[in-house]
Symmetry: C2
Amino acid sequence: MDQIRIGIVGYGNLGRGVEYALRQNPDMALVGVFTRRPPSSLTLQTPGVPVYPLDALDGMEGAVDVLLLCGGSAADLPEQSPRYAGRFHLVDSFDTHANIPAHFAAVDAAARAGGKTAIISAGWDPGLFSLVRALAAAVLPCGESYTFWGRGVSQGHSDAVRRIPGVRDARQYTIPVPAALDAVRSGANPALTTRQKHMRECFVVAEEGADRARIEQAIITMPHYFADYDTTVHFLSEEELLRDHGGLPHGGFVFRGGRTGRQEQNRALVEFKLTLDSNPEFTACVLTAFARAAFRLGRAGQAGCKTVFDIPPAALSPLSPEELRRQLL
Amino acid sequence: MDQIRIGIVGYGNLGRGVEYALRQNPDMALVGVFTRRPPSSLTLQTPGVPVYPLDALDGMEGAVDVLLLCGGSAADLPEQSPRYAGRFHLVDSFDTHANIPAHFAAVDAAARAGGKTAIISAGWDPGLFSLVRALAAAVLPCGESYTFWGRGVSQGHSDAVRRIPGVRDARQYTIPVPAALDAVRSGANPALTTRQKHMRECFVVAEEGADRARIEQAIITMPHYFADYDTTVHFLSEEELLRDHGGLPHGGFVFRGGRTGRQEQNRALVEFKLTLDSNPEFTACVLTAFARAAFRLGRAGQAGCKTVFDIPPAALSPLSPEELRRQLL
């Protein structure tokens, strides 16, 4: 079988995660990493794969089947996905929820014009969680859905703490409130405030001589980021931070609590849970599976922008339809 | 919007569950229940909906968009699904795993010949669980999958106990072994025997004067059904059985424990869990959502037999693609 030829755009945590994921998928081959940094500054883990400057993508339409865009949603993807969607099948993990309709429209126009298939927002949230939310709501129309995130490191909240004067480094964990999880699991379909759903825990390395009480106050009263949550702040040494909080674990839960029966007297609870040692590596695994789908839909002439809602699960799997029915149905 | 016109074939627990589910889905309308019993012996919960003898389906091709087949997998569906697949879009919950390839082939031939869309095995297992198994294995190719069933009533095992001389009535619960769930959740990807995964609990009403020790022995040594499991037997009165074990709860878990990263050193765990007060009512909810998909794929000319692997999640949802992206992505 011919391998699907993959190009990675961006070689941060996510791009490296895709490189690792491709090793686990023998039907795909990495043909190059494309970067805005000097190519010679990057050392790949895959022998023989070249690093190109981003510009080199122009003219490589015949050498790459699917581009996996591994940049950020703030600046990279809004520019890159529409730019490349007309020339390559592509997958991104665009995750700025409010801007998804505009991103979809821009990518869709480019992909249709070029006759290519693009899949956006194909991580775990948005992505797998979205899929479960749609599936569970379709099956249980009478009910309530809940999404919880964590326990995991939030990069945005960690950055917000780092910007406080006197903070040298910081890590912020988002944590579902156990009582909220229990209430949802009971089938009671509770109404939950922001504060009742999640709490936040910060591990902070202070500059020498910094006023810790002031830093703590600045954190727990910070609007949008912390003021609406119960937040705990721990101070620790730089060594402790690196030793105990060096990873990027994450995860979360999607619940749908529904009612069935003649008088809607019976409960039905759907729970989908992810527990991830490495958030970017798992996101990369999702992107990689959707690369297979982008290639197949593209080959079938289904041009335009798609999301997880548009992809038949079989398109993600290396198994044939017959194998899927025999082994997994 | 024109409603999707639904016909229910078979009016047992599952058929009644579909009737209740249709009330929660305003884009669908029940146009008739079709039964092998004398139609006058059935009392529907939906005013004004007629009950027809099964033969009345011949000639109703213009009045029914999608048939939901609510009979059993042993005798009903192998005969009915191929028979009607050429004339109606249809959905069934065929669940005899070993016979799925043959059932698929028979339904596919009929559906293609008639230009109709059939979706088979669209319950929760096979069905939603199959979908999660395929999805999780595609995302985490390096890993192990586990399916656990219960705590819930197994009809087949309950029937097996009832066939023992001296047993008046019985209910059997299949129960995941808590230590096995813990081991899987730890990310250790353990090898588990049949006995290590599930245990069985039987509630038995004995005939007066029956030898309870003999009944208990007959249960726990029964090949295939109980001999490979740790089984607990409780004797109780008929009143107690009806009072405490009158429902049909069920549920279960699908896990995928995978590895990510440069040296596959990081764990990623997917857990999907269902907790259902009523097994047939939830299965009916799944069938009903897939009726929407069968109608839409049928309208789009996608003739033939499909399974959950072939259905884009958007096809299950009453929301438009724009609503899905805005609200659930």
